[in-house]
Amino acid sequence: MIKKILIANRGEIAVRIINACREMSIPTVAVFSTVDRAALHVQMADEAFCIGDPPPLESYLNIDKIVQVAKDSGADAIHPGYGFLAENPDFCERCEKEKIIFIGPNSEALRLVGDKVASRKTMTEAKIPIIPGMMKSGRDVSGFKGAAEKIGYPVMIKASAGGGGKGMRIIDSPENLDKGIEAGMREAKSAFGDESVYLEKYIEEPRHVEFQVLADNSGNVAHLCERECSIQRRHQKIVEETPSCALDEKLRAKMGEVARKVIKVSGYNNAGTVEFLLDKNKNFYFLEVNARLQVEHPITELVTGFDLVKQQIRIASGEKLSFAQEDVAQRGHAIECRIYAEDPENNFFPSSGKILFMKEPSGPGVRHDCGIYSGCEVSVYYDPILSKVITWEETREDARKRMIMALSNYTILGIKTSIDFLSSVMGHPEFVAGNTQTNFIDKNMSDWMEKKKEKRFAKEALIAAAISSQIKSPTKRRVKGKEEMPTPWVTVGKWSLGEQ
């Protein structure tokens, strides 16, 4: 078994990993940037070392320093968490060279699944369904007709050099093809200086469905069922749930088998996630492998009963999977809401500052994975995820109601958060109905701000503010006109240990 683990990350995921290690009696080493001295992961680990200035390249992405701390502290393994170095094949390879166990896939598999072109080729050869499309782009309009017939309408025109929707066109029938391609090429030319376009099948009302997979170092592979992560803003997931409303037993088994195959043909080991797009006719297409522990891993843990971080550590230690595919079953329903420091009233703009006060949700079936505390600073340097609320209940409807309850019991004062917005998502009739396509927020939440103007408890808030300005708490003090958070260290006055 691994003896000591360095966690090359911060925030809620570092805390999550440290907790798993503590339960397994494995000592932990935290690393932190200068701005994170007071961060929760630093407080919780057994040892902690500062590795540099706040910009990630100076600290959490600094491979040399992290490897050096691992060696100096005697850590024989590194858990990269998600983000930062988690999917960096150079870091993984460096660990392999230095004889440090990288808790994740081997560097070769990591390199393969990170390369879109190479992995598409590998998957095509293995007959894994991918979004049908032209393998090459072109400028010759005549060649497109046959390609479109073969792919099947509707098709999407995409700019080769592209991104951001420029040059994109959806074509639903052959008569609109020529015109669409010409327009797409013109747009691509003006946006990117390159008129090359290609065709891809247009996926109607897609859902984002992914499969959690565990693979040991001896080639045993099991999937832990799906997660649906269709609700996204800025192409980033904010709500995830499992099981998916769109899957039945048969489709789940079929997609799960494909997910296992993807992992096998990639030579992948440890925990990974196979992402699919699922169209409205229940056709599914492989997108990519996320070669890491996912943000949304807790929902899988709640419905399958496996602790994914512990599984990762056991696999990395060389243990074989202790269960077979037949032993995996889903029970009940789990939903996760990601809590970000951001302002949903201002296009989800990140928010930073001091958390003046925080009260976390709790109760049966409520899990709170958290990297913050009352009085901590949310800095501008890193991803603004603060915490995750995960609820479990027997049915989707009960898990949803439990989530609304948990969010209403969750208070964070001092910075803007997405809690209120998420609560509205949970209460939306389309969410209740399970109509969760990737355009959910654009389609259903655009009038959210208008609706939010009518607050339910404005009168009570006003009364409370008035009362509070009359009850001046003796523990508060004014410092240069600023009200500071009272701490016992300020208010306790003179004291001494023992008898006077």
Binding site: S352, P384, S408, L462, I463, S469
Partner: protein
């Protein structure tokens, strides 16, 4: 005692009296009887006409952060009327509308040039903060009067990046 507060820049007045252990609050033309008790530094329990409310409060820089059942409010005590009026005048004269980042970040791209006509809500500049790009929009219709930064520059919160001369 009359008090005035701003919620989302809207002014609200209320009368508050404390008698026989209870607060009486007059809001609009309605009176509320409030039994309140301090639970902790950041928590106040209120019984308003028999209904219970658990209120979480914190204060910083003269602003009150209030949360009730997951609903959040940012409440400021209104200044006395005289100073409020002169304050408003001063800002009207001195400050042109600006595009500023609400938090420290890096200017990624300036989307307009000096002298450009801009519409209200038009994107002026893209700022990167917390690894995300954010478009700052023009608060008014007008003409770009000053561009104080270029791509790659670091900016502090509320530092004017672009100044707009308003036009009717």
């Amino acid at each position: 005692m009359e008090l005035e507060f701003n919620i989302d820049n809207k002014s609200h007045k209320l009368q508050l009296e404390f008698k026989d252990g209870l607060h009486k609050a007059n809001l609009g033309d309605k009176e509320y009887v409030v039994d309140s008790t301090v639970i902790s530094d950041h928590c106040l329990s209120m019984l308003v006409d028999g209904k219970t409310f658990t209120v979480y409060l914190a204060e910083a820089n003269g602003k009150k952060y209030v949360s009730i059942a997951g609903e959040q409010f940012l409440i400021e005590e209104a200044e006395s009327e005289a100073s409020a009026v002169s304050g408003a005048d001063a800002t009207a004269v001195d400050e042109a509308p600006v595009a500023a980042s609400p938090m420290p970040g890096k200017v990624v791209k300036i989307l307009v040039k000096l002298g450009d006509k801009v519409e209200k809500g038009q994107g002026l500049v893209i700022v990167e903060a917390m690894k995300m790009e954010n478009e700052i929009k023009s608060p008014v219709k007008g003409v770009v009067d000053k561009v104080n930064f270029k791509a790659g520059d670091l900016v502090d919160a509320a530092q004017p990046i672009i100044e707009i001369k308003p036009e009717d």
